[in-house]
Symmetry: C2
Subunit: 382 residues, 2 copies
C-alpha cells in the first residue's frame, strides 16, 4: 500500500458526531470521508470531502456512497444491512463491519442468542411477544427486570424497567412490538471496552468505567476504578466477543461488573462508541483513527493509555427543542488539561448529546471530579 | 461568547498543511475554516467548510474571504498586507496577526531593525544593495556570513552563505535584489519557541530544539537538549518579541543558542510553524488550536508539555516533480507511540514538505532517535 493524494475514500453512513470525529482523525492519515446523512451540513460535513444528502436506508444514497468510495462503513445502527449488502454486491465496494454483523446486532434478541451460544457470559433473558409472555418470563427471572424492544433502541430509548407485576401491561404497551426481557443485573459498575478488529489482528483499548443516569452516558473514566483482575477479565470477554463479529472496525462493548466480580455482556455497538471518545486525548491511537485503519485494512495502532483520562458529556439541558447556544465555554477553555469537543449540531433538546469534554490527569478519581465540575459550568439555558 | 452552529468562521489565506492542521484543530472547537488557495482541492480543503480558489494576493479572493468570514488570518507569508488591510477596511472583518506585523516581518531588514530597536538580541547585520556594499559590510562582519534577500525567502530559499571574498559577486547575483547580510552565528543549537498572543494575554510553548540540514528543518525535539537556564532565557526572549508584534495569533520564533549561551533571534513567522507541529501530540493545546483560539479572541489554552516529543519531517526524496506515492507507511503505522501526519499534496519534488511523524516518549534523545529511524523507512522513490 502506498500513500497518495487524493487518498483512500471511506463512505460513512451517518454524519453525526461520530462521523465528525472520524473526519478529524482521517485527515492526518490522508483518509478522506464521504458521508451520507439526511440533514444538509450535518456535523461531519465540516471535515468530510463531501456529503450525500439522503436517508440512512435510502438505496440511491448508499449506492452513490458505494460508487464514490473505496470502503463503506456506518456510524449509526440505523444503517440498513440489506441495502449495504446490495450496494456492496453492485459496486464491489467492501463494507466493514460486515452487514450480517449489523443485522445480528440490530436485533437484541438475536445478538444475545448468538453471543450466548458462543460462550459469552450474558444476563439471563427470554423472548417475549405479548404481555402474557412477559408475565410468564418474569416468574422465572424475577422483579425488577429490563424489558427491551428487539430493534431500534438507542440511548435508553426502547428500554423499560419492569419493577413489579403491576407494571407488566404498561411496560409491554410502551415497547409495542417484539421484545426480550432480561434479568436485572445487580452490578457494581458498568464497564466498556473498545474492541478493534483489523486485517488478521485484534486488539482492545484499556477498560473504561461508564457512568449512566436515566440510561444516558454521563461520564467515563479510564482506568476503570476496579481491580486489575476484573479489568483483565473485561478485556478477555471483549476479545472473545470480537471472534463472533464479522468484519473489520471498532466495536463498542458495554459490560456489567456484577457484585460477585463476574463480567456480563450488556450490549455491543458495531462502530466507535461514546465510551471510547476519551481515547482522542488518552491513547496513542484514538478509536476513530483505529476504526479508519481497520476499515481500510491498515495496521492497527497502539491502544496504550497515555494517562488516566475522564470524559463528561455535554447534554441538552433545555425543555424544548431550540437553537443551540452554549454558555460557559470561556471558563472551560481556561481550564488546564481540559479539551472541548463540540459536535456542531444546530439544535438542542433535552439530553441530546451536543459535545463532550475530556481531561487527562494523574489519578482517575480527581480527573473524573474535574470534568464533572467543569461540565457543570456549561448550559444551554438562557 | 456562546458556542453555536454554524460556528465562528475563520478565513485563512493559504490552504497548505498549516491550513489543514488548523482545520483539524478547529472542528472540535466548533470553528469552521474558509481557506483561499490557488490550487483547487488544496490540502486544507478536506477539513475546511469551503475553499475560495485564487491567488494569495488576489483582492477579489481575499475580499470574498472577508465577506464570508468572522475573522481573517493567514498561514503563508505570501499573503499581501495591503490587500488584507483594504479588505478589513471594506468588510469590517478583523485581521490577526495585524497586516502591519506581516509587512514588518516580510522585510527581513525591517524585521531586524524593529526588533533590535526594541532591545531584542539579534546577530550583527547590515543592509546591502550591491555587491560592493556587501564586500564593504563583510569587512566589518567577517567571513563566513549569511546573505539574505530582504523579501520572499522561505525554507532556506533566498539565503546564501558567503564563505570568502571570492564568493561575493556570485552570492549577490543569486539574491538579485535588496538584501541584508548577517554575521554567521557560531551556534551550539537552534531553538524555537511558539509564542502566543491572545486577547490581553500572552504565553509561550516549551522550547524546541530544531535540527536543519541544507537549511530545511529535518527534526525537532522538545525539551531542547540544553540547560534549564537557557530554555528559560529563550522563553523570555520570545515573550519580549511578542510585545513587539501587533495582533493575536501564534508566532514561530526561531533562535540561536550561541556557544557562550547567549540567545539571539534568527527569524519570526507570524503563523503556526513547523517547529510547533509536535504540540499536537505533545501538549494539552496544539499550536493550531492556540492560533484559532487567539485569532477568534477565545482564552488561550494550557501550553504545558505532556511528554518529551520528537518530530521528523517527511520530505520529498525524488529528483523530478512527480505524483506523490509514499512507501513504507505500514511499518510506520505499526510503530507504537508514532503518529503520522500526511499533508495531502498531490505532487512531490525534492525536499518538499509532504508530512511528518511525531513520537512521544520518556527521554528526548531516544524519542529523537526513534523518529529518525522510522522516518527513514519512508520513501517516494520507486
Amino acid at each position: 500500500m502506498k500513500l497518495r493524494s487524493p487518498g483512500v475514500t471511506v463512505g460513512v453512513v451517518g454524519g453525526g458526531q461520530l462521523g465528525r470525529m472520524l473526519g478529524e482523525a482521517g485527515s492526518p492519515l490522508g483518509i478522506e470521508l464521504l458521508v451520507s446523512d439526511p440533514t444538509p451540513e450535518c456535523p461531519a460535513s465540516l471535515v468530510a470531502r463531501d456529503q450525500v444528502v439522503g436517508a440512512f436506508d435510502d438505496e440511491e444514497t448508499i449506492y452513490e456512497l458505494g460508487e464514490r468510495a473505496d470502503y463503506l462503513t456506518f456510524e449509526i445502527e440505523l444503517a440498513d444491512p440489506d441495502v449495504l449488502e446490495a450496494v456492496e454486491e453492485e459496486t464491489g465496494t467492501p463494507v466493514h463491519p460486515r452487514p450480517e454483523t449489523l443485522r445480528m446486532i440490530q436485533d437484541k434478541l438475536v445478538q444475545k442468542e448468538r453471543l450466548s451460544e458462543a460462550g459469552i457470559p450474558v444476563p439471563a433473558y427470554e423472548a417475549v411477544d405479548s404481555a402474557a409472555e412477559l408475565r410468564e418470563a418474569l416468574d422465572d427471572l424475577g422483579y425488577p427486570a429490563m424489558l427491551k424492544a428487539r430493534e431500534g433502541g438507542y440511548d435508553g430509548r426502547g428500554n423499560v424497567l419492569v419493577e413489579s407485576p403491576e407494571d407488566v401491561e404498561t411496560a409491554f404497551e410502551a415497547i409495542q412490538g417484539p421484545a426480550m426481557v432480561e434479568e436485572f443485573v445487580d452490578y457494581d459498575r458498568e464497564l466498556a471496552v473498545i474492541g478493534c478488529k483489523g486485517d488478521g489482528e485484534t486488539d482492545t483499548f484499556p477498560v473504561t468505567e461508564t457512568i449512566h443516569r436515566e440510561e444516558i452516558l454521563r461520564e467515563t473514566v479510564s482506568p476503570a476504578r476496579t481491580d486489575g483482575q476484573t479489568r483483565e477479565r473485561a478485556r478477555e470477554v471483549a476479545t472473545e466477543i470480537l471472534d463472533v463479529m464479522a468484519g473489520r472496525g471498532v466495536y463498542g462493548i458495554e459490560l456489567f461488573e456484577r457484585a460477585d466480580g463476574e463480567i456480563l455482556l450488556n450490549e455491543i455497538a458495531p462502530r466507535p462508541h461514546n465510551s471510547g471518545h476519551w481515547t482522542i486525548e488518552g491513547c496513542h491511537t484514538s478509536q476513530f483513527e483505529q476504526h479508519l485503519r481497520a476499515v481500510t485494512g491498515l495496521p492497527l495502532g497502539a491502544t496504550d493509555r497515555r494517562e488516566p483520562t475522564a470524559l463528561a458529556n455535554i447534554l441538552g439541558d433545555v425543555d424544548t427543542r431550540q437553537d443551540a447556544e452554549l454558555s460557559g465555554v470561556e471558563d472551560v477553555l481556561r481550564t488546564d488539561t481540559v479539551s472541548l469537543h463540540w459536535y456542531g449540531k444546530r439544535e438542542v433538546y433535552n439530553l441530546r448529546k451536543m459535545g463532550h469534554i475530556t481531561s487527562v490527569g494523574s489519578e482517575p478519581d480527581s480527573v473524573l471530579s474535574l470534568v464533572r465540575e467543569v461540565r457543570d459550568w456549561l448550559t444551554f439555558r438562557e
